[in-house]
């Protein structure tokens, strides 16, 4: 792709709750963010038009920079004029609204359809129907299923190059018949990424009913997979569907040279880039309706999107997906299932609100941690070959970890943001923690397509906020005993020494950008920092300073709410530097009366061993009861939620991929 060297760039990202804009320009020959705007998204009532929010965000930037960015008719002024009003490039990303409802048609689930699923990485796709040769429904049933699923997109794959044709055409003709019977005048999208020999026949078949996009065969041979081009075409399809959705996206798309791009692809691109530079990278974006986890280790990268995990619109479906226990284990008080469900449903009714008291704070953070756990479990088997069997395996070391989403970005306390990221992902070893506080990543992802220099310069210039370097202890340090012996040599030669106790967090306030030499030594048996007993490393301070997490991995959360009430407020205090905010004892008493769960009520010590022996059976019975209750909840939401929303894709490229254009920069 030819690079556009023109100067100023305006990037706008439409989230389900927030619309964020960033103005990027050349400052002393280097691209820098020069202005930010953030407002509530206006897709819903009363405006029903995302442009209203965008204009408000651009006014914020104009207010801060003095630069006019809009025409009098409120459209983006482009190109930039000599008086510095306007911008040269206007880029738009979005994660807003529902995912693209997609009918997947392929020959076999294990081959072409599996590759197609990997191709949808980084795009908000919900596979609503899958037709393969293994499908034993009759033709009427298949066609009715397609029609009733109200698809936006038909993704056709199958047949190796120079391979099967007739079967693929037969299946395609069913899709064409379904389109004809839909009877509306909307032209659907067809993306074909199968045996290229049948493309002319498919164009003829779908011509009257659909816009046909084509891409390289995702499975040209039984051994080879190439989902990259299909993935890029899916972004185009998403753009087209976003336009059709209304809410003013058609006007936004018309103003942007690249149309409307899916936000999640940006996370994939960033982690791939960082992994090539630093070895491995992980990005977690917990949004209101959708959450995304992008991981890159060496050349392997994956993006996992879950439309049922979010802290706003999807808070209700998060509970449905996770079950109550997974959330409750992160709470330092007892709460009955009904109250927890009411909390999450109310959050989905008012997704932009923030926790106002301590109880709400813990509840919201517990939802986030439970959601992140599920996201990691979904993604985990795809990260490395060794990990395939075990979704619960601990996180492999990631050199860079990025957090995004209001739950991390809007705490106003960098230490708290860092701790939440550590809790959510439980990284091992030494990691750089970054926070996308200004939602720059969506912009960067779009930018990489048109101005690679700007992409690299913004990343290297610290466009994403550095929270700090974190040293995480693996294993189980003994609480109250020394776990880490830390020596920090500051630039002026001053030396700071600290013993970090097991079960605690310690954050040294090394100022942002200041370098220091760290000597850290593990004390005690069975614990390491990513397999090492001592590390000597120069680090640069972040907004949270330098972080030493001696709590252990996996994080030793206490088993009872009463014990967590002693544990978690201390962690929060260590992360923020505030006094400990104690848990109201009534929150625990209420629990003990309401709950008979052994999980939540710690028995007297004498009885513990007895219970340990005989209690396993009780625990299983209780677990079964809990699962039954959770099944009921799932059924209750069955009509609304989509359990198959875990659209998992592995977009490993190993060769030609969509960041070819960046390759020179990577080297």
């Amino acid at each position: 792709m030819a690079e556009n060297r023109a100067g100023s760039i305006l990037a706008v990202d439409f989230g389900n709750v927030h619309t964020r804009a960033v103005l990027i320009d050349l400052v002393d020959g280097t691209y820098r963010p020069v202005g930010y705007g953030e407002v509530m998204t206006t897709a819903g009532f009363p405006h029903g038009d995302v442009n209203v929010g965008m204009v408000r965000a651009l006014h914020q930037i104009s207010h801060g920079t003095g630069r006019q960015l809009l025409h009098p008719d409120q459209t983006v002024l482009s190109p930039e004029l000599p008086d510095r009003s306007g911008v040269d490039s206007f880029l738009v990303t979005t994660s807003i609204g529902r995912p693209m409802r997609t009918v997947m048609i392929g020959l076999t689930r294990d081959m072409s359809v599996a590759s197609a699923l990997r191709a949808v990485a980084g795009t908000y796709v919900q596979v609503v129907e899958t037709l393969t040769l293994e499908d034993d429904r009759d033709e009427s049933a298949q066609i009715n299923a397609i029609i009733l699923s109200r698809p936006d997109l038909f993704f056709l794959v199958g047949g190796t190059e120079a391979g099967a044709q007739s079967t693929l055409l037969q299946m395609a003709s069913r899709a064409a018949l379904a389109m004809r019977l839909m009877g509306d005048d909307r032209r659907r999208l067809v993306l074909f990424a199968g045996n290229s020999d049948v493309e002319p026949q498919l164009r003829e078949l779908f011509g009257p009913y659909a816009i046909v996009l084509t891409a390289d065969n995702v499975r040209p041979t039984s051994e080879r997979e190439q989902p990259a081009q299909a993935s890029a075409q899916l972004a185009s399809a998403y753009d087209s569907v976003a336009e059709q959705r209304g809410a003013g996206f058609d006007r936004v798309a018309a103003s942007s040279a690249l149309g409307v791009l899916p936000t999640a692809q940006s996370y994939g691109l960033i982690t791939r880039y960082l992994a090539r530079v630093q070895g491995s990278a992980l990005a977690l974006d917990v949004g209101s309706a959708v959450s995304t986890l992008s991981a890159a280790i060496g050349d392997r990268s994956t993006t996992t999107i879950r439309n049922d995990i979010g802290l706003g619109h999807s808070a209700g479906s998060l509970i449905e997906a996770s079950g109550f226990a997974r959330v409750q284990r992160w709470l330092p008080f007892v709460i009955d299932d009904n109250e927890l469900l009411a909390f999450s449903l109310n959050k989905s009714l008012r997704p932009g609100t923030v926790p106002e008291n301590l109880r709400e704070l813990y509840l919201e953070h517990a939802l986030m941690r439970a959601g992140a756990e599920m996201l990691v479990q979904t993604a985990r088997p795809l990260w490395t070959d060794e990990a395939n069997a075990n979704p619960d395996a601990s996180l492999p070391p990631f050199r860079v970890i990025i957090g995004a989403g209001a739950v991390f970005a809007n705490t106003g306390r960098p230490g708290l943001s860092a701790m939440l990221l550590l809790d959510a992902l439980q990284p091992q070893g030494m990691s750089e923690l970054l926070l996308d506080g200004n939602a720059l990543i969506p912009a960067l992802g779009a930018l990489a397509r048109v101005q690679q220099a700007a992409f690299v310069q913004l990343l290297e210039a610290g466009g994403i906020i550095a929270l700090g370097t974190c040293f995480s202890v693996s294993g189980q340090p003994r609480p109250g005993k020394s776990a880490l012996r830390v020596r920090i040599t500051l630039p002026d030669g001053e030396v700071v020494r600290q013993e970090v106790m097991g079960g605690t967090l310690w954050m040294y306030p090394l100022s942002l950008g200041v370098r220091a030499l760290i000597d850290v030594r593990v004390v005690g048996r069975g614990i390491t920092i990513g397999g090492k007993r001592k590390i000597r490393r120069e680090v640069i301070g972040g907004t949270a300073g330098i972080i030493f997490d001696a709590r252990g991995r996996p994080l030793p959360l206490a088993l009872t709410a009463a014990d967590r009430a002693g544990q978690m407020p201390t962690w929060y205090a260590q992360a923020t530097g505030d006094e400990v905010r104690p848990i109201n004892p009534e929150w625990l008493e209420a629990t003990a009366r309401k709950k008979e769960s052994s999980q939540d009520v710690m028995p007297p010590r004498k009885e513990r061993s007895k219970q340990r022996r005989g209690g396993e059976r009780d625990a299983k019975t209780e677990q079964r009861a809990k699962e039954a209750q959770e099944r009921k909840v799932r059924e209750r939401f069955h009509s609304g939620g989509s359990p198959q929303a875990a659209d998992v894709q592995d977009d490993s490229q190993r060769g030609k991929d969509d960041i070819d254009e960046l390759r020179n920069l990577f080297s």
Partner: protein
């Protein structure tokens, strides 16, 4: 983002305003529009008629008739595209014991004939969309309905059970919603939309059925009642949310002032990208020459503005802004956020995050 550039969430509570509302068939329905631009409409004017999407049945007619070529089917056809058919009706070939014929397995319509096949579609459920308000049509939505403008009072809630009803607005009996069932048969609650200030429970849901209530405006329900509320024949609107919150005094008073008027309760189930809110609209007669204002959608927070708190210990309370600090405030939970200082009408003064405030427009 601080208060100067923050546009707060709006949830209308307007005693007299001009409103515009879409009246549309569901997305997957097909149908026709029954009004024209400029038409006057009343509560029960039919704006659009249609039918839900119904399943298709594919019949391999040429194969059944053992025809050599699919084109030969044309000579054997007994029906045409668009023709309604009954189950058992002859579609192609000849009827009779020794003759070969294709009979319709369903009652529906012939929608396609070709390639040796006959495709039938079952009958969808008929739908009618009423205006639900007095006003006039200002625009048409192709194939789906119309945009109607009217004048009246608007109260928006947070959740609905996806039903709509039009009826007389009644406040619950002073001794509680459950007493509705003890009223005489000619009670004013029959076919009414009833307002209750207490959360709905299973008993109240039974009362709704027993007394044929058309709609209920309630503050909240426990989540375990969601299924029952969705299944309720009445349109139900929640003003506060899930749990056991009582209705805000300001909302209850607002509705009390409208008692006895015809109201339309639109229990929209809120969704992403949904530009509608669950709401109740009440047409209010105008004094001559009176022209009510349209809602203001571009309000920013200002001192003296009336706001509603949506979260925390004082959720549902209404008060007045008395301060808008320029710098973030550390809340009791440790979060550092932009907040407004609010004096509640119940007497308390507190800082509330900007995101947790709603204005009424």
């Amino acid at each position: 983002m601080n208060y100067e550039t923050y546009f707060p969430e709006q949830r209308h509570l307007l005693p007299l305003t001009i409103f515009r509302r879409d009246r549309l068939l569901p997305v997957d329905a097909t149908g026709s529009i029954e009004v024209a631009r400029g038409d006057r409409v009343d509560l029960h004017t039919v704006v659009a008629r249609g039918a839900t999407l119904a399943p298709f049945t594919i019949i391999e007619a040429a194969r059944v008739l053992r025809l050599r070529r699919p084109e030969q089917l044309e000579e054997q056809l007994q029906v045409q595209v668009g023709e309604p058919v009954q189950a058992g009706e002859l579609l192609a070939g000849k009827a009779g014991r020794r003759r070969r014929g294709v009979l319709s397995p369903i009652t529906g319509t012939v929608v396609h004939i070709g390639d040796g096949r006959i495709i039938l579609q079952e009958e969808g459920e008929n739908l009618i969309v009423e205006a639900g308000v007095n006003g006039h049509v200002v625009d048409l939505r192709r194939g789906r309905g119309a945009l109607v403008e009217g004048i009246g009072a608007v109260l928006q809630g947070v959740w609905g059970n996806d039903r709509r009803a039009t009826g007389t607005l009644r406040m619950e009996p002073s001794n509680g919603f459950e007493q509705v069932s003890r009223e005489a048969l000619d009670s004013p609650f029959h076919n009414a939309i009833v307002v209750t200030r207490r959360p709905l429970n299973m008993t109240s849901l039974q009362v709704i059925i027993n007394q044929d209530l058309l709609g209920v405006i309630a503050p909240s329900i426990e989540p375990e009642l969601i299924d029952a509320v969705r299944a309720s024949p009445a349109a139900i609107l929640l003003t506060e949310g899930f749990g056991s919150q009582r209705m805000s005094a300001i909302l209850y008073t607002f509705l009390s002032n409208l008692e006895g008027r015809q109201a339309t309760l639109d229990g929209v189930h809120p969704g992403i990208l949904e530009a509608r809110r669950p709401e109740v609209i009440v047409n209010v007669p105008l004094q001559s020459g009176e022209k009510p204002p349209a809602p203001r959608n571009d309000l920013i927070l200002q001192v003296d503005m009336q706001v509603r708190v949506t979260r925390g210990n004082f959720a549902g309370n209404v008060g007045q802004i008395i301060g808008l600090p320029n710098t973030p405030i550390v809340l009791e939970n440790g979060l550092r956020v932009h907040a407004a200082q609010i004096h509640l009408f119940t007497g308390e003064t507190l800082y509330v995050p900007l995101e947790n405030l709603e204005v009424f427009s």
